[in-house]
Symmetry: C2
Subunit: 278 residues, 2 copies
């Protein structure tokens, strides 16, 4: 089978490889970039299980790959990490608002709807491409930061049987109610808020129906975006109500930066490995 | 005693703090920026020992602080990390060639000599400031990458009694003989190459006289700069001749990036801790 992705970078890292690829996406209709960390071959030759990382506003696939330090423990735990970009980009996508701010949804407003289809891209196209490119186990989990934390919870709620576990750092849990989300949702889907419901992890959780998954959420209490944009307690209350097994940790003094992510990423990898490897 | 440095950033990291400071430097005559990682208080209350990290061409104090992952183990080993900038900067230093390329020396050519005094800055001013700001042990070691590897070896050779150990990633060991160094040395010190000798770690080693220090050097064999700019074997041959205890490791497949640094930084911290903590 031909793999339709061009390798644009390869760096030796922790005894194996950090790769960067570009491919023409069916879902978004433009070239998309993603990074992958492949762990060293395991002593028992078992193929690695897969974790997707979804980044926050303004990020590319490279923020996590250069700043999180996640690959050190991923190498040890035999986990393959996939780091997609946060939106379509490039000349064919000439909308400045959207670049770095795809919100992991399918847009319906005409200006955006032909390219801004990150939900379709992440649901099917990218996982299938990864399975084509690499020899992996058949399980996957998902995690993310801020807008990417919203994305991870969204993917888990919309596709509960496809993931073993989900985790997030400072997620935007209730995008239809907070300024960052309202601006993006209004642009991408128009002002009829009923259409927003399926892209809001609080609303999806409240609607019930999704099979509960193990969830870990870390939130710094010195995060300047917590009071207005993030509100993890709202999600936690709904999770309790719907019997989702959630660990919410409020981390004293931590902010919204990659220093916060680096401090706790090892806990997230061990959390996911516990479900991926059993 | 008044500490004459302004804190411009503070991020909680691995149970303690990553700081960024700006101060008006006596040595360079302009405001200088530096970052510091302070480890959590040790169980036995012993103050941390200090390691200086010198970065490479084009870097600021932030490359290492965001990309190396060093703070994780520094927290565990009770090491305080100091990350200076790589040159003077700002409006008062209106020379583009020099910014990010200070080469850790004192310039003598008039255009540069009033500000480009990184050797004086790193020898005395910054260590004294760190001791004023933080409660530390009385030992220090030094390490760096590329131009900063040259800087670390240079500092160790010029001040052998001030450091317990020295290490480097892909250092420019012989700047007076390779293009990067020859360009900078010619600019900063003029064309009389006799004046370059005291800033070249191969020449200083060949001259003898410095007390040998434990040295660890890592070099990737896929580093595109190795053949022309780096040449660690030249330094290794001189080190053997002058009874310096050197470990030179050629790392297969690794390049010149921070992925290379992240892969081996833990080894460097453990190496230094072995000398700082005995």
């Amino acid at each position: 089978m031909t793999v339709n992705a061009e390798r644009i970078a390869a760096h030796r890292l922790y005894g194996s490889w950090q790769y960067r690829y570009r491919h023409r996406s069916q879902a978004t209709g433009v070239p998309m970039t993603y990074s992958v960390y492949v762990p060293p071959e395991a002593a028992d030759k078992r193929p690695p299980q897969v974790i997707f990382w979804l980044s926050g506003l303004t990020c590319t696939d490279e923020n996590f790959s250069t700043k999180s330090g996640a690959q050190r423990l991923a190498a040890e735990l035999n986990l393959l990490l996939v780091m997609p970009d946060t939106s379509p980009r490039g000349e064919a996508v000439a909308y400045d608002l959207g670049q770095g701010a795809g919100f992991y949804l399918n847009a319906t407003v005409a200006l955006w709807s032909s390219h801004y289809r990150m939900f379709d891209y992440l649901s099917d196209e990218l996982p299938a491409l990864i399975r084509q490119q690499f020899s992996t186990g058949d399980r996957q989990s998902i995690m993310g930061h801020s807008m990417g934390g919203h994305g991870a919870l969204l993917m888990a709620l919309r596709h509960p049987r496809r993931y073993c576990s989900v985790s997030a750092f400072a997620p935007i849990v209730n995008p239809s109610e907070v300024p960052w989300g309202r601006k993006a949702f209004g642009e991408y889907m128009g002002q009829d808020e009923k259409a927003w419901r399926q892209w809001d992890s609080c609303r999806l959780l409240a609607d019930g129906g999704a099979q509960p998954l193990p969830v870990l959420i870390d939130q710094g209490d010195a995060d300047p975006f917590m009071p207005e944009q993030l509100q993890p307690e709202t999600w936690a209350a709904l999770a309790r109500q719907h019997q989702w097994p959630l660990t919410l940790r409020i981390q004293p003094g931590y902010d919204h930066s990659y220093f916060f992510i680096a401090s706790f990423i090892d806990d997230h990898l061990r959390f996911h490995a516990g479900y991926l490897h059993t």
